[in-house]
């Protein structure tokens, strides 16, 4: 038996190590303390997205919004609380299907906020569709997601197809750029968006480049932009790349306008690019925080910071599901409830069309001024 023992020990050590670390790590998914009245369904809603790992920030912003909505609901329905079940995909499509199955098998789960990213949506949504479990995504913006005929798919924000043209319009009409350079990060989101902008701007696009995600040295792209004489640059991508890109562009003395989309609408962009971020234009199909001051105040009270990207959408998505629970809906009847939903949320009028897209989409322009992202109004 000694040989078995020998390899059992390292295993046990590994297991212990895992255990020991974990207890300290804490866990946000605490189940409900106790059930309420007999009629109470002990329902749950699911939060599906990256809560840990490299992409966790976005998921946590959403989760904050969802938790706020739950607090509101549970305050009103103290006798029958709804709990939140987290499905932490780490944004990884590979992990998504098994998590979706887990959510589907838990009959108490009546609706999902998420999946947060487009990739994991594609991996998990077919399963949700088959099981008839409603998903309202607060952040996945790939237009094609709505084209699959999934009857459980809803999107609480505008997709890239609405944002792209607005960005192009802003570049053309407001910035009055004549020579625009377009860069994307080859991601589904960034490239999709950049391609729409390229198409809409047509011949005024004087140069293109594609970078890699996680790239930090952009010297080749910088040379391309500066040598092209562009007066505006649209970047389709996320803030981790946007910050070093604009910093290096400004270091090289480029003076044009930097235009980005909601993937960069993130305080960390300004924190990292510092002065270079000044003047950056950010488009976003999201309502400026000051449009819903109560939400902003509540959020700030709870988390000690301003609502961040998609926090409002997270709040709205959760609110729709919670309204459904309040109206006595269960998993099977929730789909129709969401479909016919029509109420004002903190980000927009919450109403979906036949494909599950938000019916009322406005794209706003923001500008980085004095180290803050300031709304400059709707792009019409």
């Amino acid at each position: 038996m000694r040989s078995t023992l020998k390899f059992a020990v390292p295993l046990a050590v590994a297991a212990l190590a895992l255990g020991a670390c974990g207890t300290k790590g804490g866990d946000t998914a605490t189940p409900a303390a106790s059930g309420g009245a007999a009629a109470c369904g002990n329902y749950k809603i699911g939060m599906f997205g990256a809560l840990t790992g490299p992409n966790a920030n976005l998921g946590i912003y959403i989760q904050n919004g969802v938790n706020l909505a739950l607090d509101d609901y549970n305050k009103k329905h103290a006798d029958c609380k709804v709990t939140l079940e987290n499905y932490d995909s780490q944004g990884d499509p590979t992990q998504a299907p098994a998590l979706a199955k887990k959510a589907i098998d838990d009959k108490k789960v009546v609706g999902i906020v998420g999946p947060a990213f487009s990739g994991e949506s594609k991996a998990a949504d077919p399963a949700f569709n088959e099981a008839g479990l409603v998903t309202i995504t607060p952040s996945a913006t790939n237009p094609k997601l709505a084209e699959n005929g999934w009857k459980t798919f809803f999107r609480a924000l505008g997709n890239d197809a609405t944002q792209g043209p607005a960005a192009a319009k802003y570049i053309k009409d407001t910035i009055k750029s004549t020579k625009t350079f377009v860069i994307d990060d080859a991601s589904e989101y960034g490239k999709g968006l950049a391609d729409i902008v390229r198409q809409d701007l047509g011949s005024q696009v004087i140069g293109n480049d594609t970078i890699q995600q996680k790239q930090t040295d952009f010297s080749a792209s910088v040379t391309k932009v500066t040598s092209s004489g562009a007066d505006a640059l649209f970047f389709g991508g996320y803030s981790p790349e946007a910050a070093p890109l604009i910093k290096q562009l400004r270091d090289a003395g480029w003076k044009g306008t930097f235009v980005v989309a909601d993937g960069v609408k993130d305080q960390s962009f300004i924190d990292n690019a510092k002065d270079a971020a000044e003047g950056t234009i950010i488009t976003c199909p999201c309502v400026p925080a000051d449009v819903a001051p109560e939400f902003q105040a509540a959020y700030k009270a709870k988390y000690n910071e301003d609502p961040n990207t998609y926090s409002g959408e997270g709040y709205d998505s959760a609110t729709i599901l919670l309204d459904g629970i309040a109206a006595g809906k269960d998993r099977s009847s929730m789909v129709d409830f969401v479909k016919s939903y029509d109420k004002k949320g903190v980000t927009k009028q919450l109403k979906f069309d036949a494909k599950g897209e938000s019916a009322d989409i406005k794209v706003f322009a923001y500008k980085v001024e004095g180290g803050k992202i300031v709304g400059t109004g709707e792009i019409k």
């Binding site: 930090t216 010297s219 910088v222 500066t226 070093p244 924190d271 990292n272």
Partner: protein, 329 residues
Amino acid sequence: MQNLIDNFFAYTITGLTIGAVYALVALGYTLVYGVLRLINFAHSEVFMYGTFAALWVVMLLGGRPGAGVGQVVFWVAMMFVAAMAMSGFIAVLLERVAYRPLRKRNAPPLIALISAIGASFVLAEIMGLRSRITGWVGLDDNLRDYVRNSRNNAGMPTIIAPQPIFTIGGYHVTNVDVFVIVGAIVIMIILDQFVKRSRLGRGIRAVAMDPESAALMGVNRDRVIQVTFLVGGLMAGAAAVFYMLKIGITRYDAGFILGVKAFTAAVLGGIGNLRGALLGGFILGLAENYGSAVVGSQWKDVVAFVLLVLILLFRPTGLLGESLGKARA
């Protein structure tokens, strides 16, 4: 292609700047490989810790330097001290914790690589989880600026404001470009002299050439290995400073890709060969930039790796061959 011809000097100078960083990091791989025949997979994290040290020291000392030359010199010096100390420390720690126990047990070489990979994960994750870790020990409030959004980018203020100092082929060469390229070469020369002339340097060469004979001749192998790691760490620290001056933004996983590139540079030049690392770094930086210019930045890494394969096919031991031991005594 036309773009490359028109902006040839722009691509060249910027390629050399990033190449200088590759070269300095590559030295760490090459030194350790020469002495231990080991791919120090975690060396990328040694570099990454250096970038954070450079960033933190700036934050610690007040965040934003004034203009004058004296100020700039002071800040850059502080960055060097902090980054090299941090990277050197991490490199030595790494050797003590991850490699020395294995050496004592005569573990197979592959397992050393696994230990290196493990160490790399641990180091990167500690940095990535630093907000959680400070949270446990109750220092979160005090260290908020240092640990906030620990999975995210961390940027630092501009230390050397880029100023064009001369123009070559239409490209305005900035003070930062010059500082990085010249600085890297100077450091490299110092290292070369150290390995050539100092007693410790001779020890390194002796162990690289023949560990057993070196031991017989009274060279303390453990000490030499430790010094090798330390020197590699110091070089990575210097690279980190140049990187932060040029890029200005780092992240817990910033080392990974850069490490892969630097290792590629080391192999390209001939692993184990100090001058090979320099040459490999510069060539890789240039190749990436030229490649990006011609086929698009998205193929940058592909260009780098294809170049590597081609060179290995025709020169199986890299451009300058592998010879830390024979390093031109």
